[in-house]
Symmetry: C2
Subunit: 459 residues, 2 copies
C-alpha cells in the first residue's frame, strides 16, 4: 500500500523532521498495529517527535489539510487503537522519553509520554519510590493514560484514572494545554485530566504526564494457592475484597493459563486454578493480611498456600504472569492473541467466569482465563490465526456473549484495554444515550475528526 | 424583587407541580444563597422536584424559553454556586431523598441526589458500612458530587472524584443519561462521570449517584496534640504523609480556631496550634499507626498527645471540628462566613500557611486557619459583615494573595469548595488556555447557557 498523503504535506514534514519523517513501508507497517489480532491499517507516514512543540507543529500541519493523526507509544495496544483506518500520520512518541522531574517529598513526578513503565520504575528504585500501575506489557506512560490502563496492582492503588495528576495535551488545532496541577485534589473547574485519560488519542495527544508515586513498601510478600474449581478461587477472591483486606495484587490464573505459563516461562507450577497474591506494608500489617487471606483461602477449599518471599521467586512469579498473553499465543505457531477484557461488580464475577468457562469448553483454539479478580476484571486470551475467518467469527461470538453478559449485570465491555475499534460495537449497549453526549464532546473538540478517527465512538 | 419569569412558563409549572411550585419571596430568598458571604441573587421561582423525570420535565420547559435552571440541594455552598444571577428557576432536589439500593457485597449504593451525607450514614450504620466523604456540613450527595467535595477523610479515602461510580444526569435539553456503571473500573469511552463531578450544575443536573462504600473499620481511634508553632504542626503532618501512614483524618486547627470552637461547642481544648488525628483499621494496624504518628509528633516538638478512644469523646471532637465554620462566624453578631480554600503540594504547605498567618496578623475581622493538611488543603474562615464594603475588600485582598501564592507553587484556587462565582477570577491564572477548552465543552453541551449560568467559567 502506497502513501496517499498530500505530497506538499509530506514535503513539509520531511523538511522539518529530516530522517525522523518516514514513509518506508516497514516503518509504516510497524505503526499500523498493536499486539493483538486486529487487522492492521497502516498510516501514510510516521514522524518521530521529540517534544510537545514538535507534536503541536505536526498536528497543526495535518489539521490544515484535514489529515488524521494517530499517537503511537510502545505499540502494545490490544484493541486496535493504532490502526490508521483513514490513513494519515502516525506520531511516534517513543523518543519523548525524558523523566523531567521527580519529587520524593510530594510523591509525584512528571514524565514525557514515551517513557515506559519499566523505565520509570528503574529510575525510581534508588529513591525508594515506585509507580504501581502495571498492565503487564512495558507500555508507555502516555499510552497508559490514553487507554485508562490499570492491571495487577489496581486493587490496591487504583488505575490511571486515580494516579494521573496532570497532563500536557496537544489539541486538534495544535494548541498546547496543561490540565490539572500538582495539588492532590482540586475543585477548580471541569476535570479535563480525567476527560483525556481514556480518550485514546481521539480528543488530543498526551505529551507529558504528572503521576502520583508511592514509597516502596517496607515489606513485600507473595503467595500462590490452588483450588479444585475456578468458582472456589473466585469465591476466595471476593471474600478478600469484601473484608477490605488491602492486598496489592490478587490474580486469577486458570489451569489452562498455568499450563501455558509453565511452558513459556520454564516453570513448574501445579496445573490447577490458582490465585496469586502480593502483600505490601509494614511487617506487622503484611503478617496480618497474610493470616486473614490464608484463613479465607482455606475456608474456600484452597490448598498448597505457598510463599515466594525471596525477591527472585517473586519476580519470577510476576514475570510469568506478565508474560501470560505471550504464553498463550505461543502455544500455536504464527498465532496472534485476542484478549477479551470485561469488568463486573465483584458479586457478579463468579457467574461471569462460570459462564465464560462453559463457552470455552467447545472453543476450537487455545484459550485461557486470567484476571485481576479483586476489581471484578478478567480476560480470556485466545491464540487465533488472524487469516482464518471462521476462527475469528467463533471467537467474536464468544466475546460478544461475555461482553453482553457483563453489561447486563452492571459491568463494562472493557475494564482496562480500552475501546479502540474492538469494542465500538458495544458502546451504545453499555452507555445508551450517553454515547451521543460523548459524540457531542468529540465533535466540539475535534470538529474535523482528525484525531485517531473511527475509535471509541460508533459512526 | 418580583419574579420576571415568563408568565406562561410559571403557569405551566404551577399546573404541573401545584404547591411544589413557588414564587413566594421567602422561599425564593432561601434558594438564592448558600452559607457564605456571597451576595444572594434570588431565583424567579422554585420547584420542589420528586423524580429524575420531573427534573427533566422542568428543564425541558425552561429550555424551550431559554430560562436558566439552578439545582439546589442542601444549600451549604460556600462559593456562590446557588445565586440566580440571571434569574430563572431553582430546582430543589431535597425531596429526592430515597436511598434506592445498597449492596453490602459490592460495597456500593445508589441514592437520589437530595440524600444527605448524615442520612446516608445513619442508614448504612446497621449494615456495618459507611460513606467516608465528609465536608463537615450535612450536604446533599448530589451537591457533593457537583462540587467535587471532599473533607476530613479524603487523605485516606479520596474525594467525590474517586468515590462516585455512576451518575444519572439531566442534560440541558432535558435528556436523561446514565454515566459510568457499577464496575470498579472501566476503559469504555470518555469519563463522563468525572466530567459531571465538579461541574457545579453548569453542564446538567445530577439526580442520582452511585457511590463506593466502605466497611466500618474494626478499630477507630482519635488523638489530639498541640504544638508551639503552626509550622511545627504542619511539619509533623507532612512527615506523616511522606511516610505513607494511612491516617484516616489529619486536621490542623490553629489557636484562633481552638478558641472559637471552645466557645461554640463548650469544650476546653488547649489554646494551641493543634493536630487532630483519626486512625482506622485492625487493632494491630491502628496500634502501629499510632506509634508511628506519636513518634513523628514528638520529633516535631508536639506535646500532650491525647486520646479520644471512647466514641462519645471522638464524636464530640469531630462535631466541634465540623462546626468550625459556624464557630468562627458566631464570634461576631450578624456576621457571615467567608471561607477561603486552597490546596497545594504538601511540600509547599508550610510556606503557604506561614504566609497566610502573616497576612492575618493585620486582619481586622475574626479569622482562623484550619485544614485537611494531609492533602495540602487548608482554609481560612473569616467572620465578615457582608454589608461592609471595606471589610469585604480587605478580605478579598488577603484571599487573592493566598490563591495566587497557591497557584504559583503548582496548587489550586480551590481544593474542595468549588469555583461558583467566588473563584472565577482565578480560573485563567490557574488553567491558562485550558479554560478555553472548558468553555468549548460548556458551549457544546449547553449552547443556550441555561445551566447555572455565570458559574465556573469567566465570561
Amino acid at each position: 500500500m502506497s502513501s496517499t498523503l498530500p505530497s506538499s504535506l509530506g514535503e513539509t514534514l520531511r523538511q522539518l523532521f529530516g530522517d525522523r519523517f518516514s514513509t518506508a513501508q516497514v516503518i509504516r507497517e510497524q505503526h499500523g498495529r498493536g499486539e493483538s489480532h486486529h487487522t492492521p491499517a497502516i498510516p501514510d507516514a510516521v514522524v518521530f517527535a521529540q517534544s510537545t512543540e514538535e507534536v503541536a507543529q505536526i498536528v497543526r500541519i495535518c489539521a490544515a489539510q484535514s489529515v488524521p493523526v494517530i499517537a503511537f507509544g510502545a505499540g502494545t495496544s490490544l484493541e486496535g487503537h493504532l490502526t490508521a483506518v483513514r490513513g494519515g500520520v502516525s506520531i511516534d512518541l517513543s523518543r519523548m522519553s525524558k523523566i523531567s522531574r521527580v519529587s520524593a517529598e510530594d510523591l509525584d513526578c512528571t514524565v514525557e509520554a514515551g517513557v515506559t513503565r519499566e523505565q520509570l520504575n528503574t529510575h525510581l528504585r534508588d529513591m525508594g519510590l515506585f509507580f504501581p500501575i502495571d498492565p503487564g506489557a512495558n507500555a508507555s506512560i502516555g499510552g497508559m493514560a490514553a487507554t485508562r490502563a490499570s492491571g495487577t496492582n489496581a486493587v490496591r492503588y487504583g488505575t490511571m484514572r486515580e494516579n494521573v495528576l496532570s497532563l500536557t495535551v496537544v489539541l486538534p488545532n495544535g494548541q498546547i494545554i496543561r490540565t490539572g496541577g500538582r495539588a492532590r485534589k482540586s475543585s477548580a473547574g471541569y476535570d479535563l485530566t480525567r476527560l483525556f485519560v481514556g480518550s485514546e488519542g481521539t480528543l488530543g495527544i498526551i505529551t507529558e504526564v504528572t503521576l502520583r508515586l508511592y514509597g516502596i513498601p517496607e515489606t513485600i510478600s507473595a503467595a500462590l494457592c490452588s483450588f479444585e474449581t475456578v468458582e472456589q478461587a473466585v469465591a476466595a477472591a471476593i471474600a478478600v475484597v469484601q473484608l477490605g483486606i488491602p492486598v496489592a495484587r490478587m490474580e486469577l490464573m486458570d489451569r489452562g493459563l498455568i499450563q501455558a505459563v509453565n511452558a513459556y516461562s520454564s516453570l513448574s507450577l501445579k496445573i490447577e486454578d490458582t490465585l496469586a497474591f502480593e502483600f505490601h506494608g509494614s511487617p506487622a500489617s503484611v503478617r496480618e493480611q497474610i493470616e486473614m487471606v490464608a484463613a479465607i483461602v482455606e475456608d474456600n477449599g484452597g490448598r498448597d498456600f505457598e510463599w515466594a518471599n525471596a525477591p527472585e521467586d517473586r519476580n519470577r512469579l510476576w514475570k510469568a504472569r506478565h508474560n501470560a498473553f505471550y504464553a498463550v499465543v505461543s502455544q500455536r505457531p504464527n498465532a496472534k492473541g485476542w484478549s477479551s477484557d470485561v469488568c463486573v461488580p465483584v458479586s457478579e464475577l463468579s457467574g461471569c467466569i462460570v459462564m465464560t468457562r462453559e463457552l470455552l469448553k467447545t472453543c476450537s483454539v487455545p484459550a485461557a482465563i486470567l484476571g485481576h479478580v479483586g476489581d471484578g476484571n478478567y480476560h480470556v486470551v485466545f491464540a487465533v490465526d488472524p487469516d482464518n475467518r471462521a476462527e475469528l467469527e467463533e471467537i467474536a461470538a464468544i466475546n460478544k456473549k461475555m461482553v453482553r453478559y457483563a453489561i447486563s449485570v452492571g459491568g463494562t465491555s472493557t475494564g482496562e484495554h480500552g475501546v479502540g475499534s474492538g469494542k465500538i460495537a458495544y458502546m451504545r449497549e453499555e452507555h445508551g444515550d450517553a454515547v451521543d453526549l460523548m459524540a457531542v464532546i468529540k465533535n466540539a473538540i475535534d470538529p474535523q475528526n482528525i484525531m485517531n478517527p473511527e475509535k471509541i465512538l460508533p459512526q
